[in-house]
Amino acid sequence: MSKREKAGAFDVRNVIAELIGLYGVVLVVVGLLDDSAEAMAKTGGVNANLWAGIGMLVVAVAFALWSWLRPTVVQAPKADAGD
């Protein structure tokens, strides 16, 4: 007997969304707080953390949406199946 269920938290797209999303949030915060001259000199005047963070948030949302709209349905293996 086997059941069908969504891959949920272990869908690799959700893992990507969570990690890249976390990075995005951290970078946006760092970008907003730290616009020191030193950081600006490195990037040539662009707030790189802020923009990269926003980019990562967009990617994270896209992956989350993708896995939400098209969930991976798996044929769960039987409880006693081993490999």
Partner: protein
Amino acid sequence: MDDQLRLDASFVDYALVAAYFAVVLLIGVAARRRVSDSLDFFLSGRSLPAWVTGLAFISANLGAVEIVGMSANGAQYGMATMHYFWIGAVPAMLFLGVVMMPFYYGSKVRSVPEFMRRRFGTGAHLVNAISFAVAQILIAGINLYLLATIVEALLGWPLWISLIAAAAVVLSYITLGGLSAAIYNEVLQFFVIVAALLPLTLIGLHRVGGVGGLVDRVTESSGEEMLSSWPATELSGFENPVWSAIGIVFGLGFVLSFGYWTTNFVEVQRAMATNSMSAARSTPIIGAFPKMFIPFIVVIPGLIATVLVPEVIEAKASADADFDYNSSILLLIRDVLPNGLLGVALAGLLAAFMAGMAANISAFNTVFSYDLWQQYVKKDRPDGYYLAVGRWATVGATVAAIGTALIASGYTNLMDYLQTLFGFFNAPLFATFILGMFWKRMTPTAGWAGLVSGTSAAIVVFVMVETGVLDLPGQGGAFVAAGAAFVVDIVVSVVVSKVTAPKPVSELAGLVYSETPREVRTDPEAHTLPWYRSPVPLAGIALAMVIVLNVIFR
């Protein structure tokens, strides 16, 4: 490594690195405990979608070699490095998907040594298992060395302490189960690396005044040949442009890259984890699309480093032969990425090197315990015995990798070293593999004799280049060695086959093309798939794109 290379990491950077490894270890622990049916399902790989295996396929290779080696190559040789992607990878990946994969997937061979044993018996099996084990230790040394250079740059420890610390970290990563979720990690790692290298490239370009600024400044400082990919005389070391192009197409494009991509089972196994023949064939073909564009975020940073990083500018200007180009990308990261993005870059690089080394060590472990120890030293012991052997092999291999890391540290451009290794190990293997697959007359004796003589030929060429008998500076020596290994292997195999007895045809089913039934090699559902999931049309598009890229950036 230069003394002045110190990365000024802050708390945020370390936190981002820690977050990455926390996620990886959590997946590893969850995989070990099998907390979720679906996770179990993914890992045992009965229906991984082709885009996941395709990314894992190139990510398994996106380690030390690609990031540090290719950016070093970009800094030293310029746009000619693109050949490693457009000539040296994509065609072989398409060939694997279109021609070889049906055969692999259908015959269900699970490792190179296993194929050798079934096709040629113990002689070729022993030779192949030993050379594979040695190659894994040598390549693990490259990954370990690169990992140690990052530890060194972060903490300022001397190289040997960094090496031991990095080795200890990899050992605990393997022990804690980071490997059990390898495909997950590879896909995750791919996105983190892109998230680090894409901003690096864009900010770098911004600093030098955009693409136009980069072109002007590189032309001014190093000359125009840095910006054109053909005929790559600097890279190959051939003075004659025609020979240079032939060396690149035959040596790199055919022998080395086909040898690497079609016989490397760390890669091929990714494709075996799919649910159908068509998905297996699509895996390397889908991987080919990102593979085409990776050089833009790997080679271009190397090129930017030559006009932006003071150390590299100086080395270029004074034609310093001892300059360590491997540090180019780390130097650029130091100069360009602010705290925050620096942490993302560190997470990506550490993940890539660590996963690369862990994969080498575990591949060694498998071959050592089952193909060598069980087969030739102590047969018929209980499973627990071989598991214990495997654990000791892991520790032994890690210690040995510290030694081979010291060899790797002696090369100022790691690609020179790596291509040399591939010439020794992969070129003869590819020759024996392809001949054994398509020529049923090839005998067991020819199997091992071909491998031994091919590797010997590559070593002879290597010694001649090292001692100056052959004058080939760049990576041409490796191309010639690989070509020699391939040709000698084929010739010896054919000659030996003529005078020794072949295996009975009945034992070759599933191992030789002509003896394998057609239904084993084809996918009955293939005609129901839309074009974007059919391997052959996808491969055609990929091929057309790579030709266009070669024309644009000639």
